[in-house]
Assembly symmetry: C2
Homo-oligomer: 200 residues x 2
């Protein structure tokens, strides 16, 4: 990379800050922007700077939220059901919002419990969640963390917390995906699906 | 995507201007920058804007070049050999510069002849190349366009042009890659390697 001009080198280095972008992709992106889409480069540059100053987190659900606007996921029209769905990431929230008819409230952990990485209850904002549960407006807390080891550990912790506040706790179901074929589903999922069988 | 806040939607849209970045990747990039690398986002934003104002093209070889600096590929210490290597893209230049000991001059076409896409000799700056050949400093023009249909057509056109100026023309060799095994090489390459055989 050292043979590029200083500004071009800096641009390629900066593009590598994007997740999943290696040296080759960064180079391709830089050439594309400089050669074919200078307008796009300008737009991206300005939008990034604007985003940093203007996108924060909702103090209530921790989802990304434009500064100066009310969080659309915490608006009063949604809270009626008294349901609170806890997810690991903004993308998980979007998946539930886009793929289901759920229109209750959310709480975005922005991670999962991972003591080895120094991520404890404080980093996930669980004190704020605790306060919300204590306030008594939540009738049901739906845990939608991922079915990984850390996600399950987080789910266990969350469930204990909610029970301590006398709040009903549920966990989204895990099992054979709709349309999935048993022979191609991994053993862990299958075991989970079997033990979680329901009467028909 | 419509359920994101306006600023976040704009950021995701802007990230999609990068080549090879779809909706999912753009979302992942936006979350990553906002959640884990705000410094990187700031750097990328500033660098993009700086790049647009500060990176141009060398008037001689057409390679990207910082405004106000001399092109390192056209510096006088490199021109001694009187060799000029014509490549399609800046990435091709970098591949030759990084992978070989060639230290002559370059000419970057920034494309290849493609009449159907409206890319003719003018779009590739061939008038400037012609002028350089006419100036008499080039003893050998090395054609390093890609071995594709359009690359070959471009090579043919370039060769005719150089011959018209009485400049010696060569084409980089194509054949079985070093370390490649014959049985895995495609037929076209193999046919090319056979017809281009040299005495040992
Ligand atoms: Zn909110
Ligand atoms: Zn140059």
């Amino acid at each position: 990379m050292s043979a590029y001009s200083p500004r071009l080198s800096r641009l390629i280095e900066a593009l590598r800050r994007l997740p999943g972008v290696g040296p080759k992709s960064a180079q391709r992106m830089a050439f594309h922007l400089l050669d074919r889409d200078r307008q796009g480069a300008q737009l991206l540059g300005e939008t990034l700077v604007e985003a940093l100053g203007g996108i924060g987190r909702c103090p209530s659900c921790r989802m990304f939220c434009d500064e100066g606007e009310n969080c659309r996921y915490c608006s009063s029209s949604r809270t009626a059901a008294g349901q609170l769905c806890v997810v690991e990431s903004p993308a998980d929230l979007m998946a539930i919002e886009g793929g289901t008819s759920y229109r209750g409230r959310y709480f975005v952990l922005m991670g999962r419990l991972s003591p080895l990485d120094g991520i404890g209850p404080e980093e996930l904002g669980l004190d704020r969640l605790q306060a919300q549960l204590a306030a008594g407006e939540v009738q049901e807390m739906i845990i939608a963390t991922n079915p990984t080891v850390e996600g399950e550990a987080t789910a266990y912790y969350l469930a204990e917390m909610a029970r301590g506040q006398g709040v009903r706790v549920t966990r989204i179901a895990h099992g054979v995906p709709m349309g999935g074929e048993l022979e191609y589903v991994d053993g862990g999922t299958l075991a989970h699906a079997l033990s979680g069988r329901t009467p028909v």
